[in-house]
């Protein structure tokens, strides 16, 4: 993304600057050494010192790997019914047991995790793109600021969960008619979550852009005639990466929870299409006899969200230069 040439790296008491200005000719190798370290190495060092974040990141990557590679490693099919071995408890053949139709719950968890994580990431990307676009436009172009921020305030005043439910209800049939059931509902849920969750990102990005716009390097870029589009992509965007990354992690977490909540209320994916929220919902009627059927998907959602929240916490500390190196 950004490198050592980036203007923000030369601010204040940055080690690169002190080393370079201290003895330019005498310690050439030292200078090269420090120069090869971009600011992302400092971020990584700080991030590494946050134990919770490190464990969270490791756990999240493990789950992602399991979910992506799972269908190739685990032989059982998530949709294959086997009535003779239904409602089984935990065993070697079925580590999480089987459901009322004899489907392997472990396979369904893997399949559900793929959908849940895909929805989370896609919705996060959409809301980031929307939020960054609106935030940068509002922060950089003064004429758009008032209008776009009023628009953001309006969105913040909307009751989001009820509106999400209404949106899913209204557009479910038209979209499934065009794209088919699975793709249609995927598009619907991703865009519904994305459209209703960009506001915080937009506000944070706008605040940062407003401050950055007044800095000397932007003035310098403007004075040599750089067009606004170039200034934004070259100078502004790399410098607002850190708040965007923090909201990205939190965005995945809320998107996963929202998707599961929709599925739980029966307004998400169709019943035979496993996601973690859907599996939890399917398990509720069997709560008394087989509580573990609710337990596994709920635990998966909670642990993934918890690990992402820890990663976000660590990232926020790591990307804040005031905390770094403490």
């Amino acid at each position: 993304m950004t490198d050592a040439r980036d203007p923000s790296a030369y601010s204040g008491n940055d080690p690169v600057v002190t080393a370079a200005s201290g003895s330019l000719a005498a310690t050439e190798p030292v200078l090269l050494n420090t120069k090869a370290r971009s600011q992302w190495w400092d971020v990584w060092d700080q991030f590494r010192s946050h134990k919770g974040a490190l464990i969270g990141a490791a756990f999240f990557l493990l789950i992602v790997a399991l979910v992506v590679l799972g269908p190739y490693l685990w032989p059982l099919d998530a949709t294959k019914t086997d009535v003779r071995s239904r409602n089984q408890g935990m065993s070697l053949a079925h580590p999480f047991g089987t459901d009322q139709l004899g489907r392997d719950i472990f396979a369904r968890m893997i399949e559900g995790g793929r959908v849940s994580l895909a929805v989370g990431m896609a919705a996060m990307l959409l809301s980031l793109v929307l939020g960054t676009l609106i935030g940068v436009l509002a922060g950089y172009f003064r004429r758009l600021d008032g209008l776009l921020m009023r628009f953001t305030d309006l969105f913040l005043a909307l009751p989001l969960l009820p509106l999400l439910l209404v949106m899913v209800l209204l557009f479910r049939e038209p979209l499934t008619a065009v794209f088919g059931v699975e793709v249609g509902i995927f598009i619907l849920i991703v865009s519904a979550i994305g459209i209703t969750s960009w506001m915080q990102t937009a506000r944070i990005v706008r605040g940062d852009v407003l401050a950055l716009k007044e800095r000397e390097f932007v003035l310098a870029a403007r004075s040599i005639g750089t067009p606004p589009r170039r200034i934004i992509t070259r100078h502004i965007l790399p410098n607002v990466m850190s708040p965007i990354m923090v909201s990205a992690t939190l965005g995945i977490a809320t998107a996963i929870i929202t998707e599961s909540a929709l599925s739980f209320l029966g307004l998400g994916f169709p019943p035979d299409f496993p996601t973690w929220g859907r599996l939890l919902n399917d398990g509720v009627p069997y709560l008394q006899q087989y509580p573990e059927r609710v337990f596994w998907p709920g635990l998966a959602i909670s642990l993934v969200v918890l690990s992402i929240n820890y990663v976000g916490d660590g990232l926020r500390d790591a990307l804040d230069p005031r905390i770094r190196g403490r």
Binding site: A157, P162, L170, L265, L280, V294, L299, S302, L306, N309
Partner: protein, 335 residues
């Protein structure tokens, strides 16, 4: 301050109108037809009459204005009539639910007490827990208590209510059988024993909601206390020999409460939204559940009105939070 309040109030009106329009237009796109369930044997003229009675023949802008008039004028008039026994709203058409052909606001009035009881208690409980926890974990930053508190709030953030709710049902209602798993709305409190039953059936939903609210509030309280604990006035207070208790619980706490109070005000409407899931889990028939059933039954006037009530709550509490901030913090000058 007064001009600021008036300006905000005036700005709230176009905001609300715009939100109303957005909700109306969104529902306007709905494919559902309220007459879809009418049997085919009903003749067309009768169907036409029913359609007219529901106000479906008017063009969309007229229906929007009619709904706005009903929401802001006729329904408050009805409340007034109900309170003082007058008949101002006689003969005016109210917002009618398509589900049960009764005025929407009567259904809402039936449901609101349950929501207020459960959600309100949860909010009070959460505040009562979150503020001391936040104070103590900020005062002993990085202590064992603080670390444990941070972990619990992280868990409270991350565990969605549809899982924590189901989990406490399994543990406390199914396994231990301490509390009922389903909220009985018809239960009336008359004496001590029925009061105990009421408390027991409220315990689980309140606990689930309170865990969520507590984790948000206590983090906020802790951050706010930490901001203030390093300020110069705290050193001054200690230097002039005030006892530690007075420094923390009077000087620091009062200043730290300013942002927390506004966060509490801001959170109230979002709790109504969050309670949708908790109400569904524990079968509390409050407004959240009313909304879900209305959505499933394609009852557009009900959905429209309820969503708009949520929006009104958000706008009103935003306003209250802004004004409160200005009143509590004299450093803030809006005008």
């Amino acid at each position: 301050m007064l001009t600021f309040t008036i300006r905000r109030l005036l700005f709230a009106i176009p905001t609300l109108l715009f939100i109303a329009l957005a909700i109306f237009l969104l529902l306007e796109l709905a494919p559902g037809d309220p007459m879809a369930n009418v049997p085919l044997t009903v003749p067309d003229e009768v169907k036409e009459q029913m359609r007219r009675a529901l106000g479906l023949n008017e063009p969309a802008p007229i229906r929007f204005l009619l709904w706005i008039r009903q929401f802001f004028w006729i329904e408050p008039l009805n409340v007034f009539d109900h309170l003082f026994g007058t008949t101002f709203a006689e003969g005016e058409l109210r917002i009618i639910s398509w589900q049960n052909r009764a005025p929407v606001f009567i259904a809402i009035a039936e449901r609101i007490p349950q929501t207020l009881w459960v959600v309100g208690t949860a909010y009070v409980v959460a505040i009562a827990i979150a503020i001391p926890v936040g104070i103590y974990s900020a005062y002993k930053q990085y202590s064992v208590f603080d670390q444990a508190g941070t972990f619990v709030t992280m868990v409270g953030f991350s565990v969605p209510p549809f899982f924590s709710g189901v989990l406490v049902i399994v543990i406390f209602a199914v396994q231990l059988q301490w509390f009922p798993s389903i909220y009985d709305t018809r239960h009336v409190v008359t004496d001590w024993d029925s009061f105990v039953i009421q408390v027991r059936q409220m315990f689980l939903p309140v606990m689930v909601l309170a865990l969520q609210i507590t984790s948000q509030l206590s983090r906020f309280m802790r951050a706010s206390m930490l901001d203030n604990l390093n300020q110069d006035y705290v050193r001054t207070a200690r230097a002039k020999g005030l006892r530690e208790r007075a420094v923390v619980l009077v000087h620091v706490l009062r200043n730290s409460m300013i942002p927390v109070v506004t966060v509490i005000a801001l959170g109230i409407p979002s709790i109504f939204g969050g309670a949708i899931i908790t109400e569904q889990v524990f079968k509390v028939n409050g407004i959240g559940q009313l909304l879900i059933t209305a959505i499933q039954a394609n009852d557009l006037p009900m959905v429209q009105t309820l969503t708009f009530i949520f929006a009104v709550l958000i706008v009103v509490f935003n306003l209250i939070a802004d004004v409160l901030y200005g009143i509590l913090d004299p450093r803030i000058r809006y005008d």
